[in-house]
């Protein structure tokens, strides 16, 4: 009752008083809002050149329409399919190989009682998260090149030299490995936090009922952090067609182009390097649209399955 009355009163504040109290707030908002329109929404409108034959001199508005010609060209282009398939392969590999790693590390790290080892592991695994892909690519090249550490070890034990960085097939594993090295620590922290919030008495009860440790991990611990796991999974699934630029661009090289050319690098080379703005925009737009559809549908499906969504 009281709240309602207060609310009604608030609604009746005369415009002059409201304005006097809040004009500064609107003034503050002015810059970010103009910024948002200029740098986030204006480029979205600029995206219409995906349907035009873009002419630098005529500009975005006066260039002639061509309908879906660029999209048709993209779907007929081998390079485009190569980039799309590679994007999917690299992302799916990240999902299958990379996703379970931090979950498992977190679960077992949580079980050990030595606080120092626990803290040190967490600290060390999180560090590569703050290194740029330029640095990581530099380090990884050093490790896996023919004269690198890994091949040194191979030679010492008498194994055959492996061309990690020039065979497209093996290169993918290096890419996935680098991804785990770079980002496992980040997810690890999220999972550890989720584990801290779990109820230890459930595990104790299971112990008294005779469950082994592995049974407890599988049937008590992991189900308790399932919401966190599923949110992380949704986020990664939603991004399955989009790929960051720096990582494939820096990790790839000319010899593994057939595996390392992805949408983001393809758009860069076709658009910014070769200057085909309209065509590259169409490719980027395709990726964005599929990306949104993916996010929405994954979110919907997970809600149907009784998990929490992200939206």
């Amino acid at each position: 009752m009281k709240e309602k009355r207060i609310k009604e009163k608030a609604r009746k504040i005369p415009f002059k008083v409201y304005a006097r109290n809040t004009w500064q707030l609107y003034l503050m908002l002015l810059i970010p809002v103009i910024y948002m329109l200029m740098f986030r929404y204006k480029p979205m409108i600029g995206g219409i050149i995906a349907f035009k034959k873009f002419n630098v001199f005529a500009g975005i508005w006066n260039s002639p329409w061509v309908g879906f010609a660029h999209f048709k060209e993209a779907f007929g282009s081998k390079d485009f399919w190569n980039a799309l398939v590679n994007t999917l392969i690299l992302n799916i590999g990240d999902l299958i190989i990379g996703f379970p790693v931090p979950v498992l590390i977190a679960v077992f790290l949580f079980e050990i009682r030595n606080v120092h080892i626990r803290k040190a592991t967490q600290t060390i695994l999180y560090l590569p998260n703050f290194l740029s892909w330029v640095i990581i690519a530099g380090i990884i090249t050093q490790l896996f090149s023919t004269s690198g550490l890994v091949n040194d070890i191979f030679r010492k034990v008498g194994a055959k030299e492996v061309n990690f960085l020039s065979s497209p097939f093996i290169w993918r594993f290096v890419y996935w490995f680098a991804g785990i090295w770079q980002s496992a620590g980040y997810s690890l922290i999220i999972y550890l936090a989720a584990l801290t919030a779990t109820d230890p008495s459930l595990g104790e009860a299971a112990y008294i009922d005779g469950a082994t440790r592995l049974q407890r991990i599988a049937h008590v611990t992991i189900p308790q952090i399932r919401p966190t796991i599923s949110i992380m999974l949704i986020m990664q699934l939603g991004k399955i067609v989009s790929i960051d630029f720096d990582r494939p661009f820096m990790m790839g090289n000319t010899l593994v182009k057939s595996a390392s050319d992805v949408i983001s690098t393809y758009v860069y080379s076709v658009g910014l390097q070769a200057g085909r703005f309209d065509f590259a925009t169409a490719v980027g737009l395709f990726q964005s649209v599929v990306g949104i559809i993916m996010i929405l549908s994954v979110n919907q499906i997970s809600k149907k399955m009784g998990e929490e969504g992200i939206m």
Binding site: A10, V33, G46, P128, S132, V134, T141, S147, D246, G284
Partner: protein, 288 residues
């Protein structure tokens, strides 16, 4: 639990403790390796003698990196760029988040939705590039600051922090005659300091590590950040490797030294980063 003392448990603990020590060492090997390479003589590297510790210890590679003017000047420039860009980002984020944290602000919900949508609607590289170009920012330092000046994600985190403040504080400030600007600076900002520091670190690390926009928006080498200079260095070596030419391997210790130098700001800041980022991840992980 009585299990604490059981033999099986001790075995379990021993096994996993050892396992994680090994994992940590393995995760550190790439970094140990690059540091040892940077401190070894080029003869030792060429002879394949360097393993996980420096051989024929020398700081020659560092001296040479420091003497090559372009690397040092791009390093200093990158530090200033990082500081400046972080400042701009924080100002923008606060300017947006503070008003939007007010429940009664008319039109606030609409503006908030517009910000949230930007997280999902990506115009793509080319339209962004054409936009930056049409604003005549190409090849200026602003191209490396403004396009990423406000992240909706960080803004929402900031907004949540402001919302979390006790509303009686705002009322007290109002009664004491503070206007909104004064309330922001004297009441709200000091209280959200931890979130502010977290976001500043988010922005700073992002700026330091980002390569893509330097590649897209900047042509003149004066504006190259450390990452870009390092990329060119690394790529010079990459090419020779692919062609199987070993003659330029000399650059390997220099390259390692450059990698180590560009890592240092992050490694030095790591204790703070870890403290705040861990909190920051949690802020972001809270569904809101």
């Amino acid at each position: 639990m009585s299990e604490l003392k059981s033999k099986a448990d001790r075995r379990f603990q021993l096994f996993w403790n050892t396992f994680f020590v090994v994992i940590s060492i393995v995760a550190l090997i790439p970094i140990i390796r690059v540091v040892s390479m940077s401190l070894s003589s080029k003869d030792a590297i060429l002879g394949g003698k360097v393993f996980l510790y420096p051989v024929q210890f020398t700081v020659e590679a560092y001296v040479r990196s420091f003497h090559s003017g372009s690397f040092v000047s791009s390093f200093i420039y990158s530090v200033f760029l990082m500081l400046g860009s972080t400042f701009v980002c924080i100002v923008m984020t606060v300017l947006a988040a503070y008003p939007l944290s007010k429940k009664n602000l008319k039109g606030g919900a609409v503006i908030m939705t517009l910000f949230v949508l930007t997280m999902y609607l990506d115009p793509g590289i080319i339209p962004k590039y054409l936009n930056v170009k049409s604003l005549k920012l190409i090849d200026t330092v602003w191209a490396l600051i403004i396009p990423e000046a406000l992240s909706a994600y960080n803004m929402i985190i900031m907004c949540t922090a402001f919302k979390g403040l006790d509303s009686s504080l705002y009322e007290a400030a109002k009664i004491d005659g503070c206007n909104e600007v004064q309330t922001l600076f004297k009441v709200a900002l000091p209280l959200v300091y931890p979130t502010l520091a977290t976001l500043a670190l988010f922005y700073a690390v992002g700026r330091w590590n980002r390569l893509s926009d330097v590649l897209y928006y900047v042509n003149s080498s004066k504006l190259y950040t450390v990452q870009m200079v390092l990329k060119q260095l690394i790529e010079a070596v990459k090419l020779t490797q692919e062609e199987g030419i070993q003659s330029q391997l000399v650059a390997d210790n220099i390259k390692s030294a450059s990698i180590v130098i560009s890592m240092t700001p992050m490694v030095i800041a790591y204790p703070f980063i870890q403290k705040y980022f861990t909190k920051g991840i949690m802020l972001g992980a809270v569904k809101g």
